[in-house]
Subunit: 200 residues, 2 copies
């Protein structure tokens, strides 16, 4: 059943995926964005709740996003990512789903009974697929937190109160020279600190 | 820069990835598990904190896991997944990282100042890569929450207090006939409910 070519192509995408912070300003075709987002919709969700949504801003639509969330950033016209994708999670969709007859006995109608916020976990699953799919398309992508302007942004974009972002992603053609995160100087921790076999 | 073959192979993995609940009991080679986990370590992490770890149980090592977390489950010998991977997140690693000089000005030394629990988000990123990598290897995978026995499990496995699981994953050779989640009957929501362009 294993298709070695498929596995090796997949590994190449994994190896190439990294946070890309500088771009060429030229457009990403709409059908490419659609493929990336259609892939993201295939992410699993608890109880198939699907309480996840994505808002996509393209080209000049992204001005509002940058103005509100990173007012100090001045993209050079050629270095501006083409699209911003805002991954949103609805806690309500999950609590509602687990109030339905087939799930009610699990007792998860209220947030306190969820060991982990699976609305945010599922939203992260879908976001990881965006990062990888963009890479598979030969594009660059960056995931980052929204630390200011979130409330106004949500209002301006007409996002229902029940949806909250877990961050945002840029997508675009990677510039020849990127700006790498200074945090990378910390080095990757050894594989054996990441994986523990049989027990810690 | 786009390699069409690579993109199409990647799309095949995305399409094939789904929660697999029945397996053949035969082993997954250690080097295959290693490739899957090495891919997961490539997931991004906020500030390159890398506060994520994976505990892998193989074969009979998984007995303890099933006994504590799902005491009612009786795997038929041939339907038991070969490996259980427990993805763990350390909040402390993130708070410590954001207390370092280059990050301290962001004011994220305490949990209240994080808009989203990025230790769990990053752990979900790595877990999604496990699900996809297992699929690319021709294996089946299942992600689920741990709803009982967690405290004892963590103790038995010697997991440091600072690490908490976001769930668990099974990996194995998919059985010819699977048991599909009844939740799938809900149907997938339309793409246009998932993606919103320009604004909601």
């Amino acid at each position: 059943m294993v298709n070695k070519g498929e596995r090796m192509q997949f590994e190449k995408v994994i190896r190439r995926q990294r946070m890309t912070r500088r771009y060429e300003g030229r457009p990403v075709p709409r059908e490419t964005l659609d493929r990336i987002l259609a892939a993201a919709q295939k992410a699993p969700s608890a109880g198939f709740s699907q309480g996840i949504a994505m808002v996509v801003l393209e080209g000049e639509e992204t001005d509002l996003f940058w103005k509100l969330t990173m007012p100090k950033i001045k993209w050079e016209p050629d270095a501006r990512p083409w699209a911003v994708v805002i991954p949103l999670a609805s806690k309500k969709a999950y609590l509602d789903r687990y109030s339905e007859p087939d799930k009610a006995k699990a007792g998860m109608q209220t947030e306190e009974n969820w060991p982990v916020p699976y609305w945010q976990i599922d939203c992260a699953f879908a976001s990881m697929i965006v990062l990888l799919s963009a890479t598979a398309e030969g594009l660059g992508c960056w995931f980052f937190g929204i630390f200011r302007g979130q409330e106004e942004l949500m209002k301006e974009l007409g996002i229902p109160d029940e949806f909250e972002p877990i961050g945002a992603m840029t997508i675009g053609h990677p510039a020849k020279e990127d700006f790498r995160s200074p945090s990378l100087k910390r080095g990757r921790k050894p594989f054996d600190d990441f994986v523990h076999r049989g027990r810690w």
